[in-house]
C-alpha cells in the first residue's frame, strides 16, 4: 500500500512536469473562461438556468476532449517508458507489480480528473459569487460522471499499454478505439437501425454499452429527465432502466468497465516481459 502511494506520487509529479498536462489544463481552463466570456451575460439574466446551462455545455465539451486526451497521453507515457527502458530500471527496485501498475493508475486518475473538476469548481464558485444560484445536484452528478468517464478511459489506456510494446502501435490503437466509440454514438446507430432494420432494443443496447454514449445520455438526463432530446430511444431507455436506474448505469457502468479493462491490462502486464 505504501509503495502504491509512492508510485502514484511519482506519476503525479511526472505528469505535472509534462507538457501535455499544461496543455490539458489550459484547454479545460480555457473552455470555462470562454463559456463565461460568451455566456455570462445570459447567466446573469437567467440566474440558475445560466449556470446550469453552462455546466451542460462544459460537460458535453469534456466528453469530446477528455477521452482522447486521457487515452493518448496514457498510452504515450506508459508505452514510451517501457520502450525507452524506464521500466527496466524502475522495476529493478523492490516495488510490487500491483503497486506499480495501480499506483500509476491512481496517479494518472488524479491528474486527469483534477483539472476538469477544478475548472468546473471555479466556474461554479465564480457564478455563485456573481449571484447565480448553484445547481448543486447537477454539479455533484456531473462530477461523478466525469470521474466515471476518466476511470473508463484510463482503463482502456492501461489495457492498450499492457498489450502493446511500442508507442506507435499503442497510440494508433488508442486513436482507433476512440474513433470507434465516437462513431457508435447515436447518429451512426440510427443509420444502422434504419438500414438494417435491426430491433430498436438491440441498437439501443449496443449504444448503451458504448461508455461515451452511456455518459452522454446520463449527462443529458440530468438536465432533461425525460430524454426528449434523444428521441424515440428515450422510451426504450426509460422503460428498461427508469430515471434513477439509468443514472446509476451511466455512473457505474463506465467505472466498472474501466476497472475491468484495467485489471485485464494488469493481468497481461504481470504475466509478460516487464521491460
Amino acid at each position: 500500500m505504501k509503495n502504491l502511494w509512492h508510485t502514484a506520487r511519482l506519476d503525479i509529479a511526472e505528469s505535472l512536469r509534462a507538457r501535455w498536462f499544461l496543455v490539458y489544463s489550459l484547454v479545460f481552463g480555457g473552455i470555462v473562461a470562454s463559456l463565461f466570456a460568451f455566456g455570462l451575460t445570459e447567466s446573469r439574466v437567467m440566474g440558475f438556468t445560466g449556470l446550469s446551462r453552462m455546466l451542460v455545455t462544459y460537460i458535453q465539451l469534456s466528453m469530446a476532449i477528455l477521452p482522447v486526451f486521457v487515452l493518448i497521453t496514457t498510452v504515450r507515457s506508459l508505452a514510451g517508458d517501457r520502450e525507452a527502458g524506464v521500466f527496466e530500471y524502475m522495476l529493478s527496485l523492490p516495488v510490487g507489480l500491483a503497486a506499480w501498475f495501480w499506483g500509476r493508475f491512481m496517479g494518472r486518475f488524479i491528474v486527469v480528473f483534477l483539472p476538469v473538476f477544478i475548472a468546473m469548481l471555479l466556474a461554479v464558485a465564480y457564478g455563485a459569487a456573481r449571484g447565480a444560484e448553484v445547481p448543486w445536484t447537477h454539479f455533484f452528478l456531473y462530477t461523478a460522471l466525469l470521474m466515471s468517464l476518466s476511470i473508463c478511459f484510463l482503463g482502456i489506456g492501461f489495457l492498450i499499454s499492457g498489450i502493446t510494446r511500442t508507442t506507435d502501435i499503442a497510440q494508433g490503437a488508442a486513436f482507433f478505439i476512440w474513433l470507434l466509440l465516437l462513431m457508435f454514438l447515436d447518429l451512426i446507430l440510427l443509420g444502422i437501425m434504419i438500414q438494417e432494420q435491426a430491433p430498436p432494443g438491440l441498437v439501443v443496447m449496443v449504444a448503451l454499452l458504448n461508455p461515451l454514449q452511456a455518459f452522454r445520455a446520463g449527462a443529458m438526463m440530468i438536465f432533461d429527465p425525460q430524454l426528449i432530446m434523444l428521441g424515440p430511444s428515450a422510451y426504450i431507455i426509460l422503460d428498461a432502466f427508469g430515471h434513477y436506474g439509468y443514472l446509476a448505469w451511466s455512473l457505474f457502468y463506465p467505472t466498472v468497465l474501466g476497472l475491468a479493462l484495467g485489471s485485464i491490462g494488469y493481468h497481461i502486464f504481470r504475466r509478460g516481459d516487464l521491460p
Binding site: L10, A13, G85, E88, Y89, M90, S92, G96, D273, P275
Partner: protein
C-alpha cells in the same frame, strides 16, 4: 545463493538464453563477459525477475519472478543504459529510498563521494545530466542501500578514471558481498572479480577463476619514461590524471588497482615511444572474508 537451472529465453524464434545452468556462490564476484547479443543483459533481466522464461532462476531459494519484491530488496542494480528519467535527482533518490527502505542522505552522500555536487545537480532532471553523471547517480542508488547482491551492467562505461577509482573503492568496501559485473571486456573488470563467466549465444562457454593480488580499493603509483614527447600520448595519459616532467619525457600518476589491465591496454598503443615503466604500491588483497593487509607490493616493476 543464485541458481540458473536450464533457463531459456526466446524472442521471436531467436534463442537468447539456451538452457543456461549456473550456480553463483555467496563469495563469488562474477565477471559476465561476452560479445553483443551473447545473452548477458537477458540473463540479468531474468535474474531481476523482469522476463518470463523457461527454467528456474532462484535467489536464496526463492523464484526471482514469483518473489520479485522480496528478491529485489536485496539486489542493487546499475543498468547498461541510463533510463531517460525526467524526474529530478532528489525525486529519484526519494522514491528509491522509500521503496528500498533506505535514506536519501545515504544516496546523496555516495553521489558526493563519486564527485557530484548534489546542490548543483539535485534539482536537475536525470535525463539532462551527462552520461558520467547519470552513471554516478545510478551507482549511488544501487550502493546507497543495504543489499546482498550487486548487479552492475557495464558500470564503468561512462566514468572517467578518477570516478572509476572511487567506484572501485566503494566496491572494495563490499568485497565480501557477491557482485555480478557485466562487461564486453574482461580487462575493465578483471581486478574486481574472482570468477569469470563468458557467454556466447546464450550458453556458458567459459567458467574460470581469477586471482589478483592487489586490493581493488587501492591505487598504484606509476612512472613512465618516453623516448620522445608525443602530443597524442600526452592527451591519452592526461585523461588518466598523469602529470609530465618539464621536458615532457617522464609522466607520473596513480592507477586504480582494478584499472591496471585497462591502463596497460592503453599504454600498449604507445609501446614504440615507451622506454620505462614502473608500478609500485597498492595493498595486497586480504584472504576471503578478512580485512586487507596494509603491506606494499611492487606489482610489475619494469625498469
Amino acid at each position: 545463493m543464485i541458481r540458473f537451472d536450464k533457463v531459456s529465453k526466446t524472442f521471436r524464434r531467436q534463442t537468447v538464453l539456451d538452457e543456461l545452468s549456473l550456480d553463483i556462490a555467496p563469495d563469488d564476484r562474477l565477471a559476465l563477459i561476452g560479445s553483443n547479443g551473447a545473452g548477458k543483459t537477458t540473463m540479468i533481466r531474468c535474474l531481476l525477475g523482469e522476463y518470463v522464461h523457461q527454467g528456474v532462476v532462484t535467489v536464496d531459494g526463492k523464484d526471482s519472478r514469483k518473489y520479485r519484491t522480496e528478491v529485489l530488496k536485496h539486489i542493487g542494480f546499475v543498468p547498461q543504459l541510463p533510463p531517460p528519467l525526467k524526474m529530478p535527482i532528489h525525486e529519484l533518490f526519494r522514491f528509491s529510498a522509500a521503496v528500498c527502505g533506505s535514506e536519501v542522505g545515504r544516496m546523496s552522500e555516495l553521489a558526493a563521494r563519486l564527485g557530484l555536487d548534489m546542490d548543483e545537480v539535485g534539482s536537475k532532471p536525470f535525463v539532462k545530466l551527462s552520461g558520467g553523471q547519470k552513471q554516478k547517480i545510478l551507482v549511488a542508488v544501487a550502493l546507497g542501500r543495504d543489499t546482498k547482491l550487486l548487479i552492475l551492467d557495464e558500470p564503468t562505461a561512462n566514468l572517467d578514471p578518477a570516478a572509476r577509482q572511487i567506484l572501485f573503492s566503494l566496491l572494495a568496501e563490499r568485497i565480501n558481498q557477491p557482485i555480478i559485473i557485466s562487461s564486453h571486456r574482461l580487462e575493465e573488470v578483471a581486478g574486481l572479480v574472482n570468477r569469470v563467466i563468458e557467454l556466447d549465444r546464450g550458453r556458458v562457454v567459459l567458467d574460470d577463476r581469477v586471482a589478483d593480488a592487489i586490493d581493488p580499493g587501492s591505487a598504484q603509483n606509476c612512472e613512465l619514461g618516453l623516448g620522445r614527447a608525443e602530443p597524442a600520448f600526452a592527451a591519452a595519459i592526461g585523461e588518466w590524471g598523469f602529470s609530465p616532467s618539464d621536458d615532457g619525457l617522464t609522466w607520473r600518476g596513480e592507477v586504480a588497482g582494478p584499472d591496471r589491465l585497462r591502463f596497460l591496454g592503453m599504454l600498449s598503443r604507445y609501446a614504440g615511444i615507451l622506454t620505462a615503466m614502473h608500478l609500485s604500491g597498492g595493498r595486497l588483497s586480504a584472504p576471503r572474508g578478512g580485512n586487507g593487509t596494509e603491506g606494499e607490493a611492487d606489482a610489475a616493476p619494469q625498469d
